[in-house]
């Protein structure tokens, strides 16, 4: 086996070259300490949301750091879950000098469509440590049932 100088193969496709460049830029940006989409308003004024389906309910989680319970409005219409609210600014004084501002204030809203099995009558919600957790139960008829098999 002989040792050869490694050379980056010339891209055969122009788009491949662009993709490679984009990947390199993404990696370079990762090195900076730029906040990820952890902030509330990084995703075009809508909070990041997880929707999880378990055996008998749907769980909706939304990251809402800095939002008070009173400034949050949650509504469920049919299978639509709508989260609306406003993040208020911290109290400010005239003498305050701001060095860096990555956190935001303002209004936001997000609407999620749940599958049709969701029961809008059975909803509970909890806001804790900046995370809103909404539980929407599944309709009784949609739940998986175990059918006992009778044997003679």
């Amino acid at each position: 086996m002989e040792l050869m100088k490694w050379e980056r193969p010339a891209p055969t496709d122009l788009w491949e070259a662009f993709d490679g460049l984009r990947g390199e830029m993404d990696r370079a940006l990762d090195l900076f300490r730029v906040p990820d989409a952890a902030g509330l308003f990084d995703r075009t004024t809508a909070p990041a949301v997880d929707v999880v389906e378990t055996e008998d309910e749907f769980l909706v989680y939304a990251d809402l750091p800095g939002v008070d319970k009173g400034d949050l409005e949650l509504s469920v219409t049919g299978s639509l879950v709508s989260i609306k609210g406003e993040k208020k600014a911290e109290r400010e004084s005239d003498k305050r000098k701001v060095f860096r501002k990555e956190t935001w204030k303002g209004a936001f809203s997000r609407t999620i469509v749940l599958p049709a099995q969701a029961d809008p009558e059975k909803v509970s919600a909890e806001l804790r440590d900046g995370v809103l957790a909404v539980r929407v139960a599944k309709r009784e008829e949609a739940k998986a049932r175990t059918i006992a098999v009778k044997a003679d």
Partner: protein
């Protein structure tokens, strides 16, 4: 699923952070939703203030229909200069926002000199 977890190291999330100063107190506020009070580790080593918050809530049992929230640990490092007092550090958590208050040493505050 479990195998993938073993291979990939937990992701680090850089929290959004605001820094301001008001009458000798520097306030850092970091958005760290999902971290409980017990999940924080805030320490000062030499000139480095490190804030680590372990997020445990983001992994739910069930099938994900939509997944946008980041999982992993929040991590943020700050370098403190000589003007910051190392002893007077106060941290509080409310609604997923961690507020750290640091005091500027008396000796480093600007002195006003009266003209006679």
């Amino acid at each position: 699923m479990d195998k993938r977890k073993e291979i990939s190291a937990p992701r680090t999330i850089v929290p959004a952070c605001s820094i301001s100063e008001d009458s000798g107190v520097v306030t850092l506020s970091l958005e760290m939703p999902g971290v409980q009070k017990e999940g924080f580790e805030i320490k000062i080593e030499g000139n480095e203030l490190s804030i680590v918050g372990e997020r445990r809530d983001a992994e739910a049992r069930g099938r994900y229909l939509l997944r946008e929230r980041r999982t992993g640990a929040y991590r943020k490092l700050f370098t403190l200069d000589e003007t910051i007092s190392r002893d007077k550090v106060d941290a509080s958590l409310a609604n997923g926002i961690l507020t750290v208050k640091l005091e500027i040493k008396e000796a480093a505050k600007p002195k006003r000199i009266e003209i006679r």
